[in-house]
Amino acid sequence: MTCNDLSRHIADDWAWACEIDFAAKQNCAQFWYVSEEKALSAELDGAKGNVAQFLASHPHHRSAVRRVQTLARHAYAEIRDNLIGDACLPIDMLRCKLAFFGAAKFDPKSDRWTRITLAQGAPLFDELDNADNWWLPTFAA
């Protein structure tokens, strides 16, 4: 991949991240994730050649570049939101991720964690021989 291609992917897919003012307190109110996208854009300006050469000189951008290249191929690889902004509720991401695992009966305890139920209705060891149609059974309310 050339540095020009990388710049184009950042402009196409990451404009939302580059437009956030990280000097504003409300946009970095939470600590769990450090966005490197802004710094990357600045150092990429004027860079020529391929990304391998760029990363040889800027190894601290390796993770961010991987994310840009991954998102260019997989549209759902990233949560496109400011995860350290004060409006970010971790519970929303938790619910989405847990839903992929088949979690049910969400019982949020705060905006940071939730009680869930996994594999309810799944067969026990001695029921595996007759275990059709158990996945995600309909729950009683």
Binding site: F31, E36, N50, V51, A52, Q53, L55, A56, P59, H60, H61, R62, S63, A64, V65, R66, P90, K109, S110, R112, W113, R115
Partner: protein
């Protein structure tokens, strides 16, 4: 204790980060250590050499169709060398490499990259765990009151 591939890769990733490696290099390091554990457990002895010293800026010079890296640290140099080869470089030379077995594992895992070790003077779970612990944020009264899992026991 039997540990899964995923546990080893995750611990090694955090250890590299704790040792000061850039995040992307730490992400590359974890799966390589898991690969070593599965395929070349003796090679794991070089991890202390790989992560025991301060992580330094890469000392590199471009050559005609390749690159030379001096006093190379595998955790930094190996992913860059593989990038360069995949991007068309003919030869990348890593001089005075701290952990040759690790470089070899990086190359095998990447595929399509030939690794030739000319000198081997490669001079760990607790070691990795101690470095990984550097990435953890200590708990505070505030975090206990407001963090994830706070406020209730799990047995209500």
């Amino acid at each position: 204790m039997i540990r899964s591939h995923n546990e080893i890769a995750t611990m090694a990733t955090k250890a590299a980060r704790g040792a000061g490696a850039p995040l992307g290099h730490a992400e590359d390091f974890g799966p390589v250590v898991a690969y070593l554990a599965a395929h070349d457990a003796e090679g794991l002895s070089c991890l202390q050499a790989a992560l025991g010293a301060n992580i330094r800026q890469l000392d590199q010079q471009n050559t005609g169709n390749g690159m030379v890296m001096n006093a190379a640290q595998a955790v930094i140099a190996a992913p860059i060398a593989i990038d360069m080869v995949k991007a068309g470089a003919n030869t990348v030379q890593l001089r005075d490499i701290d952990a040759p077995a690790l470089v070899s594992a990086y190359c095998r895992l990447a595929g399509g990259v030939t690794c030739k070790i000319e000198d081997d003077y490669c001079t760990i779970w607790e070691f990795l765990a101690a470095l990984a612990a550097k990435t953890y944020v200590p708990a505070t009264e505030e975090s206990r009151l407001a963090g994830a899992g706070a406020g209730l026991t799990d047995n209500d």
